[in-house]
Amino acid sequence: MRWLAAAALVVLLLLPAVLNSYAVTVFIFIFFYAFLGQAWNIVGGYAGQLSAGHAAFVGIGAYASALLSMQAGLTPWIGMLVGGVLSAGLGTVVGYLGFRFGLRGFYFVLLTVAFAEVCRIVALNTDAVGGALGYYITFTGNPWQFQFQDNRVYYYVALGLMLLATGIVAAIERRRFGAYLIAIREDESACEALGVNTFRYKMLAMVVSSFLTGVGGTFYAFYLFSLQPGAVFGIPLSVEIIIRPIVGGAGTVMGPILGSFILSPLAEASRIYFGQGGWAGAHLIAYGLLLIAVVLFLPQGAYPALRRLWVRMAPR
């Protein structure tokens, strides 16, 4: 398994040398959504707290670093940390309300969606951040301003983000923190009885998750150069973030990556093939069908299923 990961990493590092610019873009989205999925995985997959409003953290991180860069000249390399901290601040508020008052299941989903929607509506109605017109970043190609002439630099930045988040998740999984999060997902009351401060660990998971997601906001802003409230705070983005780890295997280290390698190209292909001629939105149907298939046949996601297959096939 370790071998496979190392080989895959080498391939990914060398790949831009042979890919055309469009293929590089596809990989950038695979990595970026894998990164966001990995960040969500901490609170949604491991701790089992279904946040359906993670777009809020992307949006806060994106607007923060874009505004700081455009208005105050602060480099987004630092702005991404500021965005992460602000997102973690919102994560703390949402987490506190949800966990202190014991909102579970659908109620927690609704709470997180509500916060993301509030962010969207505030951004939509605040002229200082461009309001409904959106906020645009002028392209300078200056690496210090997180802007690159060569698409391949974004490739490596996105790959780096994905590996960073994956490393963090792997480290969490090996520690008491991770063991507690998994146990909380299984049965919270039993955890409490066994001495686990469930509130504290859920909060910690939410803070780490929202911080990382906020960091991702900077990449979003400085890769696309335009921020639209509906796109960056909207429910569709939250769904994109959640669906990859669920399809790949929520609560596993490899799940979000596998899910992104399955879904991001699928989204891209259906956008290309169905995008024209009145078929816009067909990728949502494809998503829906895939999700039904996953729930029916692989309820724990693709990665655990692959793993079982691997174990069965491997010679002893």
């Binding site: 008491r176 063991a179 507690y180 049965d187 009351s189 009885a193 001495g195 686990v196 401060n197």
Partner: protein
């Protein structure tokens, strides 16, 4: 603190659910090393008392003092940290986790190093006789094994007082006998035990003293032999007409 100070002191504890008084003015004391049986008909308030002691419910009145600490307002995890841990009547294993990982959640309460916690967990698993099941998922265990797992997890937190809520319910005679001797061994190792149990033979064997609850109130307390023949206990269990019935 002196050696004579009781491990657990419950004073005038009450809990009301709407119009129903589930626990009324309950006072209890437990010495270190003691096994106290808590019995009573269904709905007598035994499990509510457990929930109050372990912090899952907050009392309306009264105070609980454990090992020199007042438990008022403490969360279950903090109470567990002080050394008072409970099991659940309806066992709550982490179903998708192995027996080892289940028990490790308990051993992690006293240490953060994962390898050390794993080794400790193995020792606890062997102690309760689940060794052969170490790597099996908890969901695949029999009821008797799940009861042992519930016990193992609680034991893994290294309690000074263990609250056992019907760990024998649903077990056959052989399984019950095995659990009884396991609980005796745990007690011999210095863990005090408060036991809710419907299995009379088991509770009479295990307990040093027995307290009887009925309609939320403690009606009798004393050594097993006295309690078993007490008219108020017979009345609570069987009804008044049996109190004066001749013995078999």
């Amino acid at each position: 603190m002196t050696a004579q100070a009781p491990l657990l002191q419950v004073a005038n504890l009450s809990k009301r659910f709407g119009g129903l008084v589930a626990v009324r003015d309950l006072s209890l004391e437990m010495a270190r090393g003691e096994v106290l049986g808590l019995i009573g008909p269904n709905g007598a308030g035994k499990t509510t008392a457990f929930n109050l002691l372990s912090g899952f419910l907050t009392p309306d009145q009264g105070e609980i003092r454990f090992d020199g600490h007042l438990l008022a307002g403490l969360k279950p995890h903090a109470i567990c940290g002080l050394g008072l841990v409970r099991t659940f009547q309806i066992v709550r294993p982490f179903p998708h986790l192995s027996v080892l990982d289940n028990v490790r959640v308990g051993t992690l309460a006293r240490r953060s190093q994962m390898g050390e916690a794993r080794e400790k967990a193995r020792a606890v698993i062997d102690r309760v006789g689940l060794g052969p099941k170490t790597d099996q998922a908890a969901a695949g265990l029999t009821l008797a094994e799940r009861k042992r797992l519930e016990l193992a997890r609680a034991l893994a937190t290294e309690p000074t007082l263990l609250l056992l809520d019907e760990v024998m319910a649903g077990l056959n005679a052989t399984e019950t006998a095995a659990i009884v001797s396991l609980i005796q061994r745990i007690n011999e190792d210095g863990v005090s035990i408060l036991l809710i149990e419907h299995n009379m033979r088991a509770v009479m064997t295990l307990s040093h003293r027995i307290a009887v609850l009925n309609f939320g109130e403690k009606i009798v307390e004393g050594p097993p032999a006295t309690v078993a023949n007490h008219p108020r206990v017979i009345e609570a269990y069987l009804g008044e007409e049996y109190v004066h019935a001749p013995a078999r």
